[in-house]
């Protein structure tokens, strides 16, 4: 394998290690939220440092790659994509940490009626599924799959948009559980951000494979409408 490909593989492997760690953080956040497991939440917060270390390491690897290989064309797009995916993974890692911090506030697991009303669990599962599918799109160099991931973000947005009204109604009816509802609302907001960040990653996969910039396309469409 040419030297440049060896280095690109190293970069990809490091990014996928980070991807796995962030996925684990997100999954753990779901569990901590549902079980109010204080210990688990603490571990997630602690492990975010590891995510940050990956972020710094990958940035440095990309910097070195630019300096030593002056990449062009598909190689250039690959390293640019890795840089941006790295930044988004780091932020998803922060989100998982944030969810864990909210979970630390729960004295008991979130009540099932509130979970059901807000659709927090299907939303969380959808975010996790998008995250995992985006990883597959990256590994298998599959821009079609990346496009499918982007489409799935609508589901998250839909649930998020309804959540304010649903939570307000719930708080009016259950004034003793306001803090629980507010915490869950914050988590829902964070999940909506995860959807956006996974979308950003999917856009980078498309850019890397097809040399097409698809980000902000929705904004343009909206303006036209």
């Amino acid at each position: 394998m040419p030297h440049i490909d060896v280095e690109l593989e190293r970069l990809k492997t490091k990014l996928l290690e980070m991807w796995d760690l962030v996925e684990y953080q997100l999954q753990s956040g779901r569990e901590a939220m549902l079980t109010a497991d204080q210990e688990l939440a603490k571990q997630i917060v602690k492990r975010d440092k590891k995510v940050n270390q990956f972020d710094v390491k990958i940035d440095r690897m990309c910097e070195n790659f630019f300096a030593l290989f002056t990449p062009v064309a598909v190689d250039l797009r690959m390293v640019l994509a890795v840089l941006k995916i790295n930044a988004n993974l780091e932020r998803i890692g922060d989100t998982a940490e944030g969810i864990a911090r909210f979970a630390q506030k729960f004295e008991t697991p979130v009540h099932s009626d509130l979970l059901e009303l807000t659709q927090a669990i299907p939303m969380y599962d959808e975010a996790l599924a998008m995250f995992a599918e985006c990883r597959v799109a990256f590994i298998s160099n599959d821009p079609k799959l990346a496009k499918a991931v982007i489409k799935r973000d609508k589901t998250l947005n839909k649930i998020y948009r309804k959540s304010d009204a649903v939570a307000t109604k719930f708080m009016q009816q259950n004034p003793d559980r306001i803090s629980e509802a507010l915490a869950l609302l914050s988590i829902i907001k964070k999940l909506e951000r995860v959807g956006d960040q996974v979308t950003n990653i999917a856009e980078e996969v498309i850019f890397y494979r097809e040399a097409k910039v698809v980000k902000h396309k929705q904004d343009k469409k909206k303006k036209k409408d």
Binding site: P2, I4, T70, V72, A73, V74, D75, L76, A211
Partner: protein, 254 residues
């Protein structure tokens, strides 16, 4: 809307060294006051193609050209075209600096002397202008009567550029002009190309991908006598259309 007349153009161009088909059906149009880089592996035909634009291949045994090479819309291979007149329009700089064993001054004004210009003021004025344009004046102004061979390689190459500029061409062809130079001299030549494109149309053959990226507005990739891809340099180095171009510029050829 009328389309801008290209400065240089090749139409259905084929070239042969005896039986060897060196250039295959090339069509390309280069705009005025732009830098176009020709890239491709050794033997791909890029230098042969470059040399067609001032008929440097004319005296090669068995060399044959079909199709048209146009300068400002005029076919330079027409029988009535005088090659010495053509070369006043189209200057050339080679890979290795090739100053004459004369003084710096005589090197620069050599073309003018050939044309019979004897007026001292004209010669001096042209020498200064050309050396200034070639970013060499400040380094040699006090030593114009020194032998050109005493200059460094980088200075000699800029002297050759000054010599090419002295006859006021509109096109400058450069065949790997910096490949025999150190990085500092290379940077000076590249900077010079950037300045010169305000006034000249430049075509450069280079094996240095980064150099092509830095100095040119357009890039043409040649492979086995074919013009595989011709596009804006930015596009060529970020999203080339042809897989062969991509393999070449990313160093994965063969």
């Amino acid at each position: 809307m009328s389309k801008k007349q290209p400065k240089l153009e090749a139409r259905d161009l084929n070239a042969y060294y005896g039986d060897f088909h060196a250039l295959k059906n090339i069509n390309i149009a280069m705009e005025e006051k732009n830098v176009t880089a020709f890239i491709g592996p050794s033997g791909c035909g890029k230098s042969t193609f470059l040399r067609l634009f001032n008929r440097m291949n004319d005296y090669i045994d068995g060399f044959k050209v079909e199709g048209n090479i146009l300068l400002d819309g005029n076919d330079i291979y027409q029988k009535d075209v005088r090659v010495d007149e053509l070369r006043k329009q189209v200057g050339m700089v080679f890979q290795k600096p090739n100053p004459f064993p004369k003084t710096i001054f005589e090197n620069v004004v050599y073309g003018l002397r050939i044309q019979g210009i004897k007026n001292k003021a004209v010669l001096e004025e042209t020498a200064e202008r050309s050396l200034r344009d070639a970013a060499l004046w400040d380094e040699v102004k006090d030593n114009l009567n020194k032998s050109a061979l005493a200059l460094s390689g980088g200075q000699q190459q800029r002297l050759c550029i000054a010599r090419a500029l002295a006859i006021s061409p509109s096109v400058i062809l450069m065949d790997e002009p910096a490949s025999a130079l150190d990085p500092i001299s290379t940077a000076k030549i590249e900077e010079l190309i950037y300045e010169l494109k305000n006034d000249y149309t430049i075509v450069i053959v280079t094996h240095n991908m980064q150099q092509a990226g830095r100095v040119s507005d357009y890039t043409a990739f040649f492979y086995m006598g074919e013009l595989v891809e011709f596009n804006k340099t930015k596009t060529m180095f970020t999203s080339p259309k042809d897989e062969r171009t991509q393999n070449y510029i990313t160093g994965r050829f063969g």
